[in-house]
């Protein structure tokens, strides 16, 4: 039977960890969405050096373990663990989000851009008002899945003392010597975050599939 006193006596630590995990995930999501969009546009822009730079980033980052990136972020700057971890996660996740967004944009027929441009809209207007609204339908589900991955990957903050849920679990188990039960509670807290997200993504996927 699980030792629930671990949960009750350390509730403050668990909640603190949960809070850090949520904040780090949200910041990394926002950061990697912005960086990812930029990288996606770089990869499709009609300018070769930008294409090349975008591709290099994506291929490079996708093929390094995220743990190594988090370590580098920690060693490279004079940051605390949470900041370094969040930066590492952002750098890593941006590569995947870039690919999702690029795939979404590429799935819109080329004629859509040509039709919009031939009415006199600028590239930016056509992108914003014609291409991206169509791409977003395709991008939202993979973006949701990236966010779920992000929440799970944020447990890597623990290795740089980021104060997150996993880190709090490490501290509690070291203090109480109740290792197994502690990590069961840690896992449950992650599930509280990821299961609703997962259901939400599934729901969105269905809704978008039905809409025009």
């Amino acid at each position: 039977m699980l030792d629930f006193s671990i949960l009750t006596t350390n509730m403050d630590s668990f909640l603190e960890g949960l809070k850090i995990t949520i904040i780090a995930s949200l910041i990394a999501l926002l950061g990697s969405f912005i960086l990812g969009t930029l990288l996606a546009v770089m990869r499709i822009a009609p300018f070769k050096p930008l294409n090349w730079l975008g591709t290099a980033y994506v291929e490079f980052i996708r093929n390094i373990p995220v743990l190594v990136i988090v370590f580098f972020a920690y060693l490279a700057g004079n940051f605390g663990g949470m900041t370094a971890g969040t930066i590492g996660l952002t750098i890593y996740t941006a590569a995947f989000i870039a690919e999702a967004i690029r795939a979404g944009i590429m799935s819109v027929p080329r004629g859509q851009m040509e039709a919009a441009r031939s009415t006199g809209l600028t590239y930016g207007q056509a992108m914003r008002m014609v291409i991206l609204p169509q791409a977003i339908k395709i991008v939202i589900p993979p973006l949701g899945n990236q966010f779920i991955n992000l929440v799970k990957n944020s447990s890597l903050l623990a290795v740089v003392a980021g104060g997150d849920l996993m880190y709090q679990g490490d501290l509690i188990s070291a203090k109480t010597y109740v290792t197994f039960d502690t990590y069961v509670f840690v896992a449950l807290f992650y599930l509280i975050l990821t299961i609703p997200l997962s259901l939400g993504v599934g729901y969105l996927e269905k809704r978008l599939a039905r809409s025009h």
């Binding site: 027929p109 004629g111 859509q112 040509e114 039709a115 919009a116 441009r117 031939s118 009415t119 006199g120 809209l121 600028t122 207007q125 008002m129 014609v130 609204p133 169509q134 025009h212």
Partner: protein, 242 residues
């Protein structure tokens, strides 16, 4: 109005357009025909700079199309284009499809843009579909919306790239009728189509292309009854007997 002067275009080593010289005057209706791959679409798409020419000059109303100093968006507002596959915006209603460019590129108010849009929807005969989405329309209706979308910018020139070849036969007529009306009203039109009835009825000139070259230019009656070029003769016998 549209002047090609010694225009060449290459894709790598492959030459799509060869020494094109062609002048299209205001109010003229020119029909471009020729075998698949002869460069008809490319010729058309150079006019509004969807393709760039490799050398020679191409001007529209005296403005050089490829020139870096040319405001291409401004030039395009004056040139409507209709595609084989319509390319209506699927996430927007018919009305929104038509009002987008007038509002964003011309700065019209929503009210003004909607009024104009309804006017042209009425003209192409589908005012009742204003609030529908493209996916709810037949191919013929979608193509008529696409024409209305082009017209809403009040262009002087309309380009049509095989506007009826993706349509079921029973819908071709409704689209051609709209185009005939436009032609009679004096719109400058460049139309890639193999619809002979349309060409004979409203075209001022037929331009026959083969392998990137303009082989023959003639008035429709002359071209269809007695083409000068052997290639044109061959081509016509093929499209007439299929």
């Amino acid at each position: 109005m549209i002047v090609f002067n010694q225009v060449n275009k290459f894709y790598g080593d492959f030459q799509v357009l060869k020494d094109i010289n062609l002048t299209i005057k205001q109010g003229e209706v020119v029909v471009v025909i020729g075998p698949s791959g002869s460069g008809k679409s490319t010729l058309l798409r150079c006019i509004n700079h969807l393709e760039t020419i490799s050398d020679g000059t191409l001007t529209v109303n005296g403005i050089s199309v490829g020139d870096k100093k040319t405001d291409i968006n401004k030039l395009r507002r004056n040139i409507g284009m209709v595609f084989q596959h319509f390319y209506l915006y699927p996430h927007k209603t018919v009305l929104e499809n038509i009002t987008l460019a007038p509002m964003k590129a011309l700065g019209q108010s929503e009210k003004e843009a909607k009024e104009t849009a309804r006017l042209y929807l009425d003209k192409v005969g589908i005012l009742d579909k204003a609030e529908s989405y493209p996916s709810q329309l037949s191919g013929g209706q979608q193509q008529r919306v696409a024409i209305a979308r082009g017209l809403a910018m009040k262009p002087e020139i309309m380009l049509f790239d095989e506007p009826t070849s993706a349509l079921d036969p029973e819908m071709i007529g409704e689209v051609l009728d709209v185009m005939k009306t436009l032609a009679r009203e004096g719109m400058t039109m460049v139309v890639v189509t193999h619809e002979m009835g349309f060409a004979r009825e409203v075209a001022d000139r037929i331009v026959f292309m083969d392998a990137g070259k303009i082989l023959e230019e003639a008035v429709p009656a002359e071209f269809y009854e007695n083409p000068r070029e052997e290639r044109a003769r061959l081509f016509l016998s093929r499209i007439l007997n299929h």
